[in-house]
Symmetry: C2
Subunit: 347 residues, 2 copies
Amino acid sequence: MDKIQMKILETTSLTEIKSYLNRPSNMQEDVSKIVREIFEQVKEKGDNAVRELTLKLDKVWLDEFQVTEKEMLASMEEVDTELKAAIRQAKENIYKFHKAQSPANISIETMPGVKCWTRWVAIDEIGIYIPGGTAPLFSTVLMLAIPALIAGSKRVAVFTPPRQDGSVHPAILYAAQLCGVHEVYKIGGAQAVAAMTLGTEQISKVDKIFGPGNSYVTEAKMQAILRGVAIDLPAGPSEVLVIADKTADPAFVAADLLAQLEHGADSQAILLTSDAALALEVNRQMQVLSANLPRRNVIEKSILHSFTIIAKKELIPELANHYATEHLIIQTGNNEFYLEGIRHAGS
Amino acid sequence: MDKIQMKILETTSLTEIKSYLNRPSNMQEDVSKIVREIFEQVKEKGDNAVRELTLKLDKVWLDEFQVTEKEMLASMEEVDTELKAAIRQAKENIYKFHKAQSPANISIETMPGVKCWTRWVAIDEIGIYIPGGTAPLFSTVLMLAIPALIAGSKRVAVFTPPRQDGSVHPAILYAAQLCGVHEVYKIGGAQAVAAMTLGTEQISKVDKIFGPGNSYVTEAKMQAILRGVAIDLPAGPSEVLVIADKTADPAFVAADLLAQLEHGADSQAILLTSDAALALEVNRQMQVLSANLPRRNVIEKSILHSFTIIAKKELIPELANHYATEHLIIQTGNNEFYLEGIRHAGS
């Protein structure tokens, strides 16, 4: 029962704290080699290579990769009403936020007779990778497909690993429809990225690849660059940094940490606080909240490289900048202090 | 004398034309291995590795890499007045154009009680790579350092290969000072990228690396990503696509093509036109204009993989999209027609 506990580190040495804040390095020679071979296979044998890799890795043989219109329609029935309403609400919110960010064209005369202007143009063909596994990441579908919808991309194709019965989770299909996704393919892993990059009989190549994935998918995206296809960014394992003080609700802090820890065994969650009592209470709450979580087994692994650092308030922005987290959550009585000092974070 | 000639290709088959429009692939196993070794050396031996590589590749031994304040000041004297005025004018123009593009923060309420906002933050520490060679690329200094200046980056460090006497071209130093660059280092090649990525005794690591370079520099930037440092984009060889019709001045078209061809032996220049007479006249002008160019020997090589395609006007936007050029130049009587149809181009 005491497995779900964050190690608590406390020191006044900035250098020492910084040394804790390193994430595991990700240089994997053999991943690179395996992915290169997958690209070669897909280049040579096209769909057949994808079929064989899908059988080997996802345990299902597929003649056709694309989700049919019938399957798309069926998803409308299969997702329960409450979840559908939540997905629709999320779509509305994400749409509004991205629509407000649409960039404007500018036009200025830098010197008499020299007119300089910008013209934003949507990327024509987008490939979106949605990881498989036990959690259907329809949220990722929403967050990647909606900007493409707003920009006006001509073709948005989602790639996601099939389940063993050859289907895709209906919540993913429901979200895809809602965002105007044009095609969904039952292909996962590096072979999906290779197919988007090179094209096969059933799949036309895309201009740019978006989306998270494991180390094989990430390596495949890096190799896609070398073959002339753009990518969003090389995603590492999921991570969160929570900054909290004594005004924070320990249950909320614990929930935020757990939400990231359940992503994968390689996820990392860090709590930065100046309050030792909060650190202990968050640990207690993590135990309570994780007791019945279906993904508790994942959390038991990812908690091993996660920890709490107790540090002086003044040092916290610098530590946060040093780590430069993917996800940053601030729960304090003086959020502005941290916001002003923090310059490096994803979202 | 007839060496500086573009091959003229003419066909009505779109598929055939598209097959011409491929650029040479850039998968170089041995470049990757050499660069990995350079990273290992710099990681292990720091400045000493950089010194040895600089001696080997740039033929000069440097104890100190950073350009001194004295050298910076001397550049003010060494650059002639006319060039200084031109650099200042360019700085003004580039500054105005980028300033006008400064992104605005947004803040919206996506649903009652849920406030979503963006906050743009400058990247703290920037490394800019400026290629060496015979042409001092002070224009690249301007185009990369000015956005960092506008954004408010805390540290902008320029890296450029030393000349054999251990100096840096004064025009580069003059441009750097004008843009508020904080440090200039006499280091080139993959060793510069490795030093920016890993840090050494004399060089602190940066957050993001910008700038063009040869295949070693580009490969090094790719390897920097794997070590946690961001890059702008992997730059290929320089290229230009010029679209011109019978209203274009053939001398201008020829000059635009030559300006790109003289970048490097691997540069590619393409002229797309519906007018066969223009194609011939451009070839004639290229001969005239290139006769006395100091970099004619470079052009003699790069012209070998450059060509003119004569195609129907209606096909030209699609062909341009297929090639998706780095630099696009349109010189026609109906520029709007091409602008509307072209969706893939750098600038």
